[in-house]
Amino acid sequence: MSTAPVEFPPPVDSAKEFIAAPTDPEDERIEVGVVIVGGGPAGLACAIRLTQLLAEDEAMLEALGEVPIALVEKGKTTGSHLLSGAMMNPSAMKKLFPDLPEEDWPTYGAVDTDAVYLLPNRKRAIPLKPTPPPFRNHGNHVTSVAQLGRWLGEKVEEGGVYLLGETAAATLLVEDGRVVGVRSGDKGRGRDGEELSNFEPGADLIAKATVLCEGTQGHLTGAAIRHFEIGSEDPQQWELGVKEVWEVEKPLDRVIHTMGWPLRFAAKYREFGGSFIYPMGEDRISMGLVVGLDYRDARFSAHDALQQLKSHPLVADLIEGGKRVGWGAKTLPSGGFWARPKRLWAPGMAICGDGAGMVNVPTLKGVHYAMHAGMFAAESIYERLKASGNCDDLSSYEAKVEESEIQKDQYRSRNMRQPFAKGFFVGGAVANLMEISGGRIPGGRWATHDDATVDVFVGPERDYPKPDGKTTFDKLSSVFASGNATRDDAPNHIRIQEKVPLEVALMWQNMCPAQVYEVPEEELEAARRDGNLDGKHEVALQVTPSNCVQCGAITAKGGRLTPPEGGDGPNYQAT
């Protein structure tokens, strides 16, 4: 017997809870010109583009008041919560900084050689030649988005933007059908939500335009999409990526992608994904495992599968004598074209980047789309403010997106992810067909599905390696390595049902890379004694929210992540 997490929805109604009118007295509201929520590639590119436009237009700059642009970031700084592969397509950086030579970018430069392997088992690696098209990365830059975020953040501040780190955007302010800004999160609440001695309430930030660049599992984005009813018919899907950065002895000279082991091929498991290994200069590499969250086996753990991957000779050889210097996890939206919101704007608001599902799944690219979208939003907002003094109609933003490579690329690969629901080999064959045919064959519209509707069962115990602290690591020490030092008595920011069947609880326990969810030993023992682990035996889940690195996986699988106090969570340095 198996169960789908969707049967146990989290206790939250995002549209009701996170959308409200401003509540601060009028003279206490903070007025800004444009507020950007999220200091990732989308938000930062938006801020920079706007600054560029305003630099040429004194009158408009004046009109936007004392604080023309404010950017709100929930991490300690821009970059603290950013994690990606990444092989960044250079088109967006070129557009944003046309006069900056590529060698001056905060990236590790382009890498000429690509290698793709199919790992049929724990020992062998079959090179796939020639490199399948989605994996060709010629001209793309190896980038740490955590570093890119910091670099762009500095540029943003130099341009006079008010960069507000450690600030969560908790509520979307809507009045008379228009988005009028955001309200920042409270600080200094205790575990039960009570006000502590140093309680500081959030504040209403009123803006002519609000750009939501919250990334995967956007908190306000989800609420806005529901409230304005601009969601697509096809639900969004997500992949979970767990990544490590290693100092290595031998420099790596190529970009590597793998498929197959340790993910299982059989259709009943639905384990879609693969790994990446990128050189970061001469002495570091970044590696990660990405897996679709519609897998079925409750025992699957992406973090542990990554640890397992390191025992394959292909990878073990690369990290021999090396040292792990970073770890993190994050989800990315993989529903592609069909799962994007059917409208990317509302009066006074635009949605950019991962929050709007702007990721090309086969090629795993999204950083440059996010930046392009941020720039389009900036341009559209500027044009509208000039023409009418308000941003009630941002349809021009959507038009720009539709005319861009974002649209073109996503449309081309619009059906490439869905076939993998039928297992690796069938999926692979179909995807290849699509690639070769430029998306035309087999055509049609392959529906996406909500990850939480996939039912889970408890498979046999996995043979994950016992962490040795040198090559393989447990979750807690990994959370520590992410720089997470969230205070213990903070309110629980995760909305989840705490009494669920064992298979769902186990699924969450194994899914979460940060060990936030645990099935108490006694409950596991009791279920074992009862004879079966499936069968809807109810357990009380133990939740440790301070471990959370805000990857967002829980939102895809039946719970809901809301932003904790600003400044909490990981402080990624090089992911």
Binding site: S477, V479, F480, D488, S546
Partner: protein, 325 residues
């Protein structure tokens, strides 16, 4: 040659253990430098008798400079030591661990334009000079620090110097008259050494018995408390059990709790995840009791016991009580 002047803190007629350690260390180092070690004591009461002061000779001081000035405050001692160092041309000033040592040593740094090293864990004599070793960056490295010019000021970490009665007999007691600076009279002790038993500060405890989830439930802490009492220590807790409400937050050790470095840290039912480890890894002696032989704590404990703490703790408590009589 007057080599090293050591500050000896006293209270109610007894010298502080860390000061005795410093005098012992000073005596040893002075010999290596071919010079003399002296001590300086400052107080206003009758308890600084000739005999008491001379007894520092047993630890290695050949002379003891005694001055009358307010106790328990640093700045009067800075005035005293500055005078003694300058008049007798001491090359180094040495302090054992403890708050006053830090404050006095720092004041002397300014007064005498001297180099200072604090949290010193070891001192060595090299080519007629002293080199101080101290950990840095949360104990992730050890640096050797040398001094430019004279004098050099060495401030030890708590319990860094061992007490050794290797002196040559009673020391000569010399009374010194010191005119205090005006600012040294502007801090006045109103009450000294108040004990606040109710809230024991675990950061100061020399012995800690820490409990984790392995204790099973809140009642499990009774075992920890009994053992702590027998050992003369305090009770600490991991984040997990504080979260579960088994013990108060004031006792929490770890990344988001307190950091401690007691002489003995006995961990019962604690797995040893790094979030906990960073709060206690500098404990001098770490004993761990856990039924899981794979618990990470066994990788950094000095003595690891794989077993059922429900069986071990009560018996251990009895055995300790019996030993201590």
């Amino acid at each position: 040659m007057s080599a090293i002047l050591v500050y000896a803190l006293h209270y109610e007629g007894e010298f502080n253990k860390n000061s005795l350690g410093a005098v012992s260390e000073g005596g040893k180092l002075a010999k290596e430098l071919g010079g003399e070690c002296a001590a300086v004591v400052v107080g206003e009461g009758d308890d600084l008798t000739d005999d008491l002061c001379a007894s520092l000779g047993n630890y290695g001081a050949s002379k003891v400079f005694r001055a009358k000035a307010p106790e328990g405050l640093a700045q009067p001692v800075v005035d005293v030591m500055a005078k003694v160092i300058q008049e007798n041309d001491f090359k180094y000033a040495l302090f054992g661990g403890g708050l006053l040592g830090f404050e006095i040593g720092a004041g002397l740094t300014a007064r005498l334009n001297a180099g200072v090293t604090m949290e010193v864990t070891a001192v060595k004599a090299q080519d007629g000079k002293l080199v101080a070793e101290r950990p840095i960056l949360q104990d992730s490295a050890i640096v050797d620090v040398g001094y430019v010019g004279e004098p050099g000021i060495v401030i030890g970490r708590l319990n860094a110097f061992d007490v050794a009665e290797d002196g040559d007999g009673a020391a000569e007691v010399i009374d010194v008259d010191v005119q205090l600076e005006e600012h040294s009279t502007k801090a006045v002790m109103v009450q000294r050494g108040e004990q606040r038993g109710a809230d024991v500060n675990i950061e100061d405890a020399e012995i800690l018995v820490a409990g984790g989830r392995g204790l099973g439930n809140a009642e499990g802490f009774e075992l920890a408390e009994a053992l702590a009492e027998a050992l003369g220590g305090a009770v600490a807790a991991t984040r997990a059990v504080v979260d579960a409400g088994w013990y108060p937050y004031a006792a929490q050790i770890g990344q988001t709790g307190k950091t401690v470095a007691p002489k003995l840290y006995l961990a019962a039912g604690i797995s040893g995840a790094i979030q906990h480890k960073v709060g206690m890894q500098n404990s001098e002696n770490i004993v761990a009791i856990n039924k899981d032989p794979n618990a990470p704590i066994f990788e950094f404990s000095d003595l690891g016991v794989v077993g059922d703490l429900n069986k071990i703790l009560p018996k251990l408590t009895d055995a300790v009580k019996a030993k201590k009589g």
